[in-house]
């Protein structure tokens, strides 16, 4: 049963947990993100936050948040860990970016919708400044690695990542503005 659940996507596991209260489905989800939880929490473990109490508490909190979760688990878990260790609250993806990702996901099997959405995206990308457009094209369209992009721009990979993340947010905002026009 556990192997079968591991083959399901996060959305299907969440649906089973919400509708049928399958504790095993929630367990599969928790197990799927357990290594990431350990890796994220590892720098925060100390005498006040021992692993024997941190991980069961976080697991229990995440389990209770899964019943009402609609978004992505990684965002929920990251926010939970940051809140647990008293770090600055990290805002997740903006609504505009979530809507755009949802539209792209729904248009996956509809060629007409895909063509229309691709046209709108081209228009939004055309509104970007040339530096951002060049970086976006190099990473997403030309598939250049982050390390190479960072070296070419004399930045570290985290800076390139943050820049790319901001560009995505900007494009999503442009798409939302285009929908209201």
């Amino acid at each position: 049963m556990h192997l079968q659940l591991n083959n399901l996507s996060d959305r299907e596991l969440l649906l089973r947990f919400r509708k049928f209260r399958e504790r095993e489905a929630a367990g599969a989800l928790l197990d799927r993100y357990s290594h990431l939880m350990v890796a994220v929490c590892l720098p925060g473990l100390d005498a006040q936050h021992p692993a024997e109490t941190v991980f069961p508490e976080l697991t229990e909190k995440l389990y209770h948040q899964l019943s009402g979760a609609t978004g992505r688990i990684n965002g929920i878990l990251y926010g939970l860990v940051q809140q647990y260790f008293g770090k600055s609250r990290v805002t997740g993806n903006s609504p505009a970016l979530r809507d755009l990702e949802s539209r792209v996901d729904m248009a996956g099997s509809n060629p007409i919708e895909k063509v229309a959405l691709a046209g709108q995206l081209e228009k939004a990308l055309g509104r970007l400044i040339p530096e951002d457009m060049e970086l976006l094209q190099a990473f997403y369209l030309d598939h250049k690695p982050l390390r190479e992009l960072a070296q070419s721009r004399h930045m570290n990979t985290s800076q390139v990542r943050d820049r790319l993340k901001g560009i995505r947010q900007t494009v999503a905002t442009y798409m939302k503005e285009a929908a209201y026009e």
Binding site: M1, H2, S9, D10, E22, R23, E24, A26, G27, L30, D31, R32, Y33, S34, H35, L36, M37, V38, A39, V40, L42, P43, A51, F55, P56, T59, E60, R72, I73, N74, G75, L77, Y78, V81, V90, L97, L100, E101, V104, D105, A107, K114, V115, A118, L121, E122, L136, F139, Y140, L141, D142, H143, P145, L146, S158, R161, L164, K165, R168, V171
Partner: protein
């Protein structure tokens, strides 16, 4: 995914979500063991996922690798243990002792109430069935008992050639001691004090059997069914068959002839002479089918249900040793119903025949005329 796919597809993939890194991907990315396409997919996900980015940053620190692997394995085992199917969480398990008794108590109460209900229903059905059985036994028509009593009072005439013992009326000690039972029909005018003779046949028979066999001439005895018939018993002439009976067979029949067939005066005298002997031999004969039908018919006749009595007599009118007596009683019933034509016709048939009831039929005919 490759760089040769159409631009449209690649533009859409900018905003296509990618799943988080699993354990193997995290390790291989750290070790640089990924293909180009897979490496780009992971980096594309790292751009949008803070969790995986921070996790990868932790894993890239060599000081954290060992503790990461150990804690990751332990947490995975913990989750497998705690969140397996059918395992309740710790927080819920602590509350269960408080919450458990209520549903259990409700379930036990429901089960006990159901068992009580079915027990009450079972008892009600059992009691009701017992009550109905008692009522049925109480109100059952006493055909099996009353005809025996009626036979005590009625001395049946023995047809010729029939075993004399078959016509012995069944009597019991209590019946003899308490009061002789007499059939009271609605047209009976006779005083019950005179009817005591009807209860004597057994005593008379027994004493007479001991002392002297009764001759065959004393065998035929008219049935005492009503007052008219009883009144005719004393004056009744012996049937022709009695005169025709030879004396030699009489010796054989003396052994079989019951003393109850003796005339009433003789029986009265015998009772006076030897009353203890009358109580010595009392036999209870088994009732066969014709006896039962005849007695039930007599019972119906006594109760005034002449139609049913006629039906019962009709069953016997064409067969068996009760045929002639049944037809005679059927004529009596018709007369009581007012159908004197039918009664007269049947009595004529009996009077014209050479049976034992000939004299009684003639007497009835003369009475009706």
């Amino acid at each position: 995914m490759n760089s040769h796919s159409p631009r449209q597809e690649r533009v859409l993939r900018i905003f296509t979500p990618v799943r988080c890194l699993n354990r193997d991907q995290l390790r291989r990315y750290h070790l640089g063991q990924m293909t180009g396409v897979e490496h780009h997919l992971v980096e594309q996900h790292l751009v949008e996922c803070d969790l995986c980015h921070d996790a990868l940053a932790t894993v890239e620190n060599p000081a954290n690798v060992e503790s990461y692997q150990q804690l990751s394995t332990q947490l995975s085992q913990y989750i497998h243990r705690e969140y397996a199917a059918g395992v309740q969480p710790v927080a819920r398990a602590q509350k269960q002792p408080v919450l458990k008794p209520q549903p259990h108590a409700r379930r036990s109460f429901a089960e006990s109430a159901q068992s009580y209900f079915w027990t009450v229903v079972f008892l009600a059905f059992g009691g009701g069935s017992i009550f109905l059985l008692q009522q049925h036994l109480k109100n059952r028509p006493p055909l099996s008992s009353l005809p025996l009593r009626a036979a005590d009072a009625i001395v049946l005439p023995a047809p010729q050639g029939a075993a004399l013992g078959d016509y012995q009326p069944v009597t019991t000690d209590t019946q003899q001691e308490v009061k002789p039972l007499v059939i009271q029909t609605k047209y009976s005018t006779r005083d019950t004090s005179h009817m005591s003779a009807a209860a004597l046949p057994v005593a008379v028979k027994d004493t007479a059997q001991k002392k002297k066999p009764v001759k065959d001439s004393a065998l035929p005895k008219p049935p005492v069914t009503d007052s008219n018939a009883r009144a005719l018993i004393a004056n009744a002439t012996p049937p022709p068959a009695q005169k025709e009976t030879p004396k030699e067979p009489a010796k054989e029949e003396q052994k079989e002839t019951p003393k109850e067939k003796a005339p009433e005066p003789a029986r009265a005298e015998a009772e006076k002479d030897d009353p203890p002997a009358a109580e010595k031999k009392e036999t209870t004969r088994p009732v066969n089918g014709d006896d039962y039908v005849y007695r039930s018919a007599m019972q119906y006749q006594q109760q005034g249900d002449y139609n049913e009595a006629i039906n019962q007599y009709r069953k016997l009118s064409d067969r068996g040793r009760y045929a002639e007596r049944a037809r005679y009683q059927m004529a009596i019933c018709y007369r009581a119903k007012g159908q004197k034509g039918k009664a007269r016709r049947i009595l004529k048939d009996i009077a014209n025949s050479e049976g034992s009831m000939k004299s009684l039929a003639q007497a009835e005919l003369s009475t009706m005329n």
